[in-house]
């Protein structure tokens, strides 16, 4: 479990980073928090000839929370984003999801952008980006492009980042007023990648009826599976006895969209079942938050 030989580059600026990346092209890999890449190197599952370490590029260590959303720079650690009150205020789902990402020590090193680029279908943050319709900004020597989440995740452990490109930031849009979010998952052990997990966002109208409801599911497809369930959910009025929603129908609607596989931890049947349970839990919780708890017990 030692990596094969590689050339190490430690650029100190964004410009230098892009120059190195352009030079090494398909033979280079960016090293961010290293929490996914280093194990891959040690197991010799990845063998890049060049490692471009961006940890000295201070200008990438940014978290910018604006009313429209949160822009997270490539060096912002999971832990920093999780702790950022400004980010939490603009997009609470970030904090809700990050709490479920690995363990504190890994969150101290791992980066949000690295997690997106790594594109693990079981990871939380790709689901968050996909659910919110966010985007990733990719820079190359002499150019930049903004890729929408829907185009960014192209397959398991595959993203739209091309050789020579650096993901410089990711944008997580804010939600309209009277919105709520939640992330519910079941992992085998505390902090593990989820067996199944669901991110949900619900927006209520002025009468506190469900105006929009979306979920993104992890571990049940090659990329996060986003489903708009607004129609199945609503618009339902907030009855005093709870949300008058046919939750089973909602769960079924999502279960029809996913394509879980069996692995050593869970059968496909269980993952499908679990996703249904979590869809309901996450949507109820998100709706509850959207109504600031005004609607009582769900």
């Amino acid at each position: 479990m030692k990596p094969p030989p590689f050339d190490y580059h430690g650029p100190a600026s964004l410009g230098e980073t892009l120059r190195v990346l352009a030079e090494v092209g398909p033979h280079g890999k960016v090293l961010a928090g290293g929490q996914s890449l280093i194990p891959l190197l040690n197991m010799r599952l990845a063998a890049p000839a060049h490692l471009v370490d961006i940890n000295r590029v201070a200008e990438l260590d940014t978290i910018a929370a604006e009313p429209g959303g949160v822009r997270v720079g490539a060096l912002a650690r999971h832990a920093a984003v999780e702790r950022s009150a400004a980010a939490r205020a603009v997009q609470p789902l970030l904090g809700q999801a990050l709490r479920l990402v690995a363990h504190p020590v890994i969150r101290n090193r791992g980066t949000v952008v690295g997690s997106l680029v790594h594109a693990d279908p079981s990871a939380e943050l790709p689901a968050v980006l996909a659910l919110l319709g966010g985007s990733v900004r990719l820079a190359r020597l002499g150019g930049e492009r903004e890729v929408a989440a829907a185009e960014f995740f192209t397959g398991p452990l595959e993203s739209a980042v091309a050789p020579g490109e650096l993901a410089v930031s990711a944008f997580f849009p804010a939600l309209p007023e009277r919105s709520g979010t939640a992330f519910c998952e079941v992992a085998r052990r505390h902090g593990d990648y989820a067996v199944a997990g669901v991110a949900a966002a619900v927006t209520l109208d002025e009468d506190f009826r469900i105006a929009a409801a979306r979920v993104a599911c992890v571990s049940v497809g090659p990329v996060p599976v986003v489903a708009d369930v607004t129609e199945v959910c609503g618009p339902r009025p907030a009855a005093s006895v709870g949300w008058d929603v046919d939750w089973d129908a909602v769960a079924r609607a999502v279960q029809d969209r996913i394509d879980p596989e069996e692995d050593i931890h869970a059968t496909a049947t269980y993952r499908r079942h679990l996703t249904g349970v979590l869809v309901t839990r996450a949507l109820k919780s998100a709706a509850h938050e959207a109504g600031h708890g005004e609607q009582g017990e769900l």
Partner: protein
């Protein structure tokens, strides 16, 4: 039955029995531990090309491409091994029933029989380079049919070893007839109630946080070898190395440095690396180190647990077992270096605290193309206890009786000790329980967990839409097996006490516990005592640390050595003080006349007196030179029959094992929707005889229960049909984190062992033994679905719910 040889002294007032802080911890938790990989910073590194196939014939090994790697030093294959080194590794524990024992070659010869079997050894400047070279070596394999799964293997469509028919390494039947002479099968036929069922336990493994490792230094001038190994037995590794390398034993030293856990896997020896690394170090006259990595540990060390059990039981209306017939298929993997200890332990310890009418147990130990199976903490007992306790629960369910009542109906009673189970134990000696109090243990457990008030708790939970269940499990554990251990205790003229014993430590706290014994036995301050374990330079005779034996066997040996030292000290002091030795006591390192504290002499002075000197180096030694003191001129300076120095050495060789016992109970909650399983409470009543240090015993229990939780809910080795281990990393082999281990509530019961001077029994393994049985029982209770197979995941539970 033998009496305690001598009443243990001062146990009431000494540090024996106290919650003394572990003296290892300051070193270990501040990063000052010295583990194998901390040593030998300048050594060359070894790495191995290991088989990627479960079963294959080696056609050719082509090393050409690796030869150009800068920093490569040597490449070895089986062909390079000289003499006995080229022979198969030792079969450590032969047994008449092991008719077809097989062991691996240090490097594969012709055939590989599991993924991970070492084929080529590479020595290079560092581990990176060594692995680079490994990746360039091409081994041409002819793939053979892999044999995976114990039932498939038993059908023997394909063979793991060409010359082992049926893939059967061993077959053994043990029968204990009922008092009326009836066989188990007859007793079952005649019983009012009978049940038959099948149980499955998956593979798990020790997975110590530190893998194995060897570091060898050859001294060409001295023609001697020093080897550091992360082992559970340095003395035996030493003998193996001397034998395999043809070196005189005195020219080989083996030291176990700080060892980051063993749990059984490091008692197996010599591992291929343990002889190949020293061999190459001598050959190349270079220091060489090999540090096992995690993947290597998963695929090329050892696993345990996997068994299929077929159970038939006959019982009466009270749930008393009249006959029990168990047939076990035991998966021993590709080789049997540790013999058939595991299935023997399962077969014998299955009986637990019960006296059952008649018993028949049969096992077949079967080869598969998987990693070999050798003892892992508990060593076959978790499987045996799973079998017996699941049986008890089934009987209770069948009769509609309380599960604890059924157990109580079968208990051996306190006045029935010594109790002979009529079988032969793993040490070849009769399975005779020395002491215990099972009814009291159960009473304590029921009180601790609140057994009788649980139905109300369950109703309350149900009213909240929650599902909870309770389970209980009992075990008896033969501990402290022989043949022996020794202890050496020396008091030096500075008043310090140096203790050594040959067995090793893997974090148990031996430095603390043995020092407590010595401080108490000798009457010296605890701080003055230092303990060395596992260093053949200090103590050459030992067996090793396994089978919960260190406190029992080394502990008693050290106590006996202390008594020799004490006797000698009193003899010398009596002379000096002109007193009767019987009137002398030692307190705080000072010998004094009882009732006359001023008539005293410190042990440091006695150490001086015991060793008459010609040369002086300091104040202390000056007092011992020939002109400083004037012993009687008509006596030699060292009296006849005496030896210089205030030291003693003694050995303890137990007549047979001492039997610890315990009972666990758990309350679990299962999520009605997600099928997640949560342990709400975990209670332990633990009886290891006299407690030397309750805190350390509790630590052992906690660690054991944690591993048990792993075995019950998380850990399994998943092999596919090609014999590939699919989860050979900590990412997919789910060892529980601290977050998965419940708070463990522990109570101690002390029934001293009558077999040894200290009255102690082993405590190292107990925690892990009944956990799977207990958790299965609690889940079954919560769900109302029979749980016959462990571990169980939420996905498994969901599948059981669907199948209901």
């Amino acid at each position: 039955m033998s009496e305690r040889r001598e009443p243990a002294r001062e146990h009431v007032t000494g540090v024996f029995g106290k919650r003394v802080q572990r003296r290892e911890d300051a070193r270990l938790i501040t990063g000052r531990g010295r583990f194998l990989d901390d040593l030998g910073g300048n050594a060359l590194a070894a790495a191995f090309v290991r088989s990627p196939h479960a079963h294959a014939r080696i056609r050719d090994i082509d090393v050409a491409a690796a030869l150009d790697v800068d920093g490569l030093v040597a490449i070895y294959t089986w062909e390079d091994l000289p003499g006995v080194l080229a022979e198969p590794l030792p079969l450590l524990i032969p047994h008449p029933a092991l008719t077809h024992g097989r062991t691996a070659y240090p490097l594969a010869r012709e055939v590989v029989r599991h993924v991970g079997e070492p084929v080529v050894m590479v020595v290079a400047r560092d581990r990176y380079v060594a692995e680079d070279a490994c990746s360039l070596i091409e081994v041409d394999y002819e793939i053979l049919k892999p044999v995976v799964g114990v039932e498939e293997a038993a059908q023997a469509a394909h063979l793991v070893h060409e010359d082992v028919p049926g893939n059967v390494a061993a077959h053994m039947v043990q029968e204990v007839p009922a008092p009326d002479g009836r066989s188990a099968r007859e007793a079952i036929e005649a019983a009012p109630h009978t049940l038959a069922f099948r149980l499955d336990i998956e593979r798990s493994a020790c997975t110590p946080l530190e893998g194995k490792g060897v570091y060898a230094r050859w001294d060409a001038d001295d023609e001697s070898l020093r080897v550091y190994s992360s082992t559970q037995t340095s003395t035996s590794v030493r003998m193996a190395i001397a034998a395999k390398l043809g070196l005189p034993l005195p020219k080989v030293e083996v030291i176990a440095p700080d060892v980051g856990g063993g749990f059984g896997v490091k008692i197996v020896h010599p591992w291929p690396e343990e002889i190949l690394v020293p061999w190459a170090a001598r050959l190349l006259d270079r220091e060489i180190k090999w540090t096992e990595d995690r993947r290597e540990h998963f695929i090329s060390s050892a696993h345990e647990r996997a068994q299929v059990q077929y159970v038939r039981v006959g019982f009466d209306d009270d749930g008393r077992v009249l006959g029990l017939d168990v047939n076990i298929l035991h998966d021993n993997g590709a080789y049997t270096p540790y013999g058939i200890i595991v299935p023997i332990v399962t077969s014998t310890q299955l009986l637990g605290p019960y006296k059952i009418g008649a018993y028949r147990v049969e096992f077949s130990s079967i080869y598969t193309n998987t990693v070999q199976v050798t003892p892992y903490r508990g060593a076959g007992r978790p499987q045996g206890v799973f079998c017996m306790e699941r049986t008890m629960d089934r009987i209770a369910a069948h009769l509609g009786r309380d599960r604890t009542d059924v157990r109580a109906a079968n208990f051996i009673q306190p006045d029935e000790f010594p109790y002979d189970q009529g079988m032969t134990f793993q040490d070849g000696r009769p399975l005779i329980y020395d002491s215990g109090d099972y009814p009291e243990s159960l009473r304590m457990l029921k009180e601790l967990i609140g057994w009788d008030s649980f139905p109300a708790m369950r109703d309350q939970a149900a009213a909240e839409g929650r599902r909870i269940g309770i389970g209980v499990g009992c075990y008896v554990e033969g501990t402290g097996v022989g043949p022996y251990e020794g202890g050496h205790v020396q008091v030096t003229s500075d008043g310090r006490v140096h203790v050594s014993t040959g067995l090793t430590s893997q974090g148990q706290g031996h430095e603390t516990v043995f020092a407590q014994i010595v401080a108490t036995e000798l009457g010296v301050p605890f701080e003055k005592v230092s303990v060395v374990t596992g260093d053949t330079r200090r103590f050459g005779y030992a067996v090793g640390t396994f089978a919960s034996r260190a406190a029992v066997v080394s502990g008693n040996a050290i106590a006996l050595a202390c008594r020799k030292v004490r006797e000698k000290a009193l003899r010398i002091a009596a002379d000096a003080l002109e007193a009767d030795p019987r009137d002398l006591e030692i307190t705080d390192g000072v010998v004094h006349v009882v009732g006359a504290p001023s008539a005293s002499i410190p042990l440091s002075t006695i150490a001086v007196l015991s060793n008459p000197l010609r040369y002086a180096f300091d104040d202390e030694t000056r007092r011992a030179t020939q002109f400083a003191s004037a012993p009687s001129p008509d006596r030699p300076p060292v009296s006849e029959g005496e030896e210089p120095g205030l030291e003693g050495r003694d050995y303890y060789s137990p007549i047979r094992s001492t039997f610890a016992s315990g009972m666990h109970a758990a309350i679990v909650e299962t999520d009605p929707l997600t099928a997640e399983i949560k342990i709400l409470r975990y209670a332990v009543v633990h009886d290891c005889g006299k407690l030397i240090n309750p805190m350390i015993v509790e630590g052992q229990i906690h660690g054991g229960v944690a591993q048990g939780v792993g075995g019950a809910l998380y850990e399994k080795m998943v092999y596919d049909q090609h014999g590939q281990l699919l989860n050979a990393s900590f990412m997919d082999f789910l060892m529980p984190y601290a977050t998965e281990v419940p708070r463990i509530e522990t109570t101690h019961l002390e029934t001293p062992s009558p077999l040894n001077p200290l009255g102690v029994k082993g405590a190292g393994e107990a925690g892990v033994i009944p956990v799977s049985a207990v958790i299965a029982a609690a889940i079954e209770d919560a769900e109302g679905i029979p749980i016959d197979r462990m571990p169980i995941s939420p996905s498994d539970l969901h599948a059981l719910r669907l199948a209901r």
